[in-house]
């Protein structure tokens, strides 16, 4: 059977939560509601004319306006396959990296889904309700966040292990390392925020390196060359 026939079979059986067949892309897929993924997969597995014995993968896709969970199932007996997708539209408020879309787990229907669902939880933060053993599978257990989300903020270290390119090597850290690290991080945050580290010279000033705002009473003026004004006849008054 091809995708149209499989979709017709599913809608003919009246399985709850079934959506439309999308044939716009090169790989047609059936959109399923979150609550309908378990009845649809159970039907596809158990119906003798569908006989989808094999779940290839459960994967997550984050797009600008939605997060999708895709299921690829195929039948070795009948040589046909089908792609199912559960779509979560991004909510107007709170659709950031703390947003956790939830879908029922299918690990008891297809045991192969167990580790795939753990991986999607680990990397994308999709919750699979009713999963028998929901832990992180790739990253350390104490990891914070889900790194494949678009607005994930990168960690600078994990458990004392530096993860940044410009981090100080662990065996070169001196007694003042923590203080220096704080200064370095503050400077980095400042760079990220786009704040210029040095004030641009005041407009009209011909001293590009003086900072434009050296107070006249401070010691900072000892190397500042005063600009020549019009009434300076010999031009030596500013020289030290």
């Amino acid at each position: 059977m091809n995708e149209q026939e499989l979709h017709g079979k599913l809608s003919g059986a009246g399985v709850a939560g079934l959506g439309e067949l999308d044939t716009t892309g090169p790989d047609p897929f059936v959109v399923v509601e979150g609550s309908g993924i378990r009845p649809v997969l159970s039907f596809l597995r158990d119906d003798p004319t569908c006989r989808m014995e094999m779940l290839h993968l459960v994967t997550g896709i984050e797009r600008e306006d939605r997060i999708e969970v895709a299921y690829h199932v195929s039948s070795l007996e009948h040589h046909h396959s089908l792609t199912l997708k559960v779509v979560f539209p991004r909510p107007e408020a709170g659709g950031h990296d703390d947003w956790r879309p939830g879908v029922p787990s299918v690990a008891d229907i297809y045991p192969a889904a167990d580790w795939h669902e753990r991986e999607q939880w680990d990397l994308l933060g999709i919750e699979f309700e009713g999963h028998p053993d929901m832990r992180r599978i790739l990253l350390p257990d104490e990891w914070i966040g889900h790194p494949l989300r678009k607005d994930y903020s990168y960690p600078s270290e994990h458990g004392g292990i530096p993860l940044e390119l410009d981090a100080v090597p662990m065996y070169e850290r001196g007694p003042d390392w923590e203080r220096e690290e704080k200064v370095r991080k503050a400077k980095k945050e400042e760079r990220k925020a786009g704040t210029p580290l040095r004030q641009p010279p005041a407009p009209g000033s011909d001293r590009p390196h003086a900072g434009g705002q050296a107070p006249a009473s401070s010691k900072g003026q000892r190397h500042v060359i005063e600009p020549h004004s019009g009434d300076d006849d010999d031009g030596k008054s500013g020289a030290h």
């Binding site: 790194p147 990168y154 993860l163 090597p169 065996y171």
Partner: protein, 177 residues
């Protein structure tokens, strides 16, 4: 190493014994059985018959860090693995040497920008003696790294004072007196 570095002056007989010991040490480097990722496949090829690292006396990987002189770090070191790499290095006895093999270990490689859990070079964790870049390096490149390490091991002094260490000692004595 340790206290023996400063034990004896750098004179004829001491130097001769030192050279002999250095030759023996550099000719029997024992690497550790350790591999992380795809570079490890290339490292196994270096151990195997075609390239035969045993020609340089470094072809017997030991099964425990306590018997090893050399740790070749072949493959991407991520946050989870870095703890183990550091523990293995800490378990090795002095003198110990480290070869960083591959682009990931030398500085992050392809994961340098978006690798959220990649340590950007194993030199952030343990001190590295020889860097062998490449993705992965050819077996000849790793053998060149081993040969360069042999030179370094042969230069390390056991009994005689090394020049730099001797100068530091003299400076310390001068400052104390």
């Amino acid at each position: 190493m340790g206290i023996l570095n400063h034990a004896l002056p750098n004179i004829g007989p001491v130097k001769a014994v030192d050279t002999a010991i250095g030759w023996g040490r550099k000719s029997s480097i024992w690497p550790m059985t350790f591999g992380i990722a795809c570079c490890a496949i290339e490292m196994m090829a270096v151990y195997a018959a075609t390239f035969d690292l045993d020609r340089f006396g470094a072809g017997v990987p030991r099964a425990t860090p306590r018997q090893s002189d050399l740790i070749i770090v072949p493959g991407t070191v991520n946050a989870k693995m870095a703890v183990r790499v550091k523990r293995l290095y800490d378990q090795m006895a002095e003198p110990r040497y480290v070869i960083a093999m591959g682009a990931c270990v030398c500085g992050g490689g392809p994961y340098v920008k978006w690798g959220y859990n990649t340590v950007k070079g194993v030199h952030k964790i343990i001190p590295v003696d020889i860097f062998v870049p490449g993705c992965p390096p050819r077996p000849e490149a790793l053998m060149d790294g081993i040969l360069k390490l042999r030179d370094q091991v042969g230069r390390d002094a056991v009994f005689a004072r090394r020049e730099q260490a001797g100068k530091e000692m003299d400076g310390r004595y001068a400052a104390a007196s």
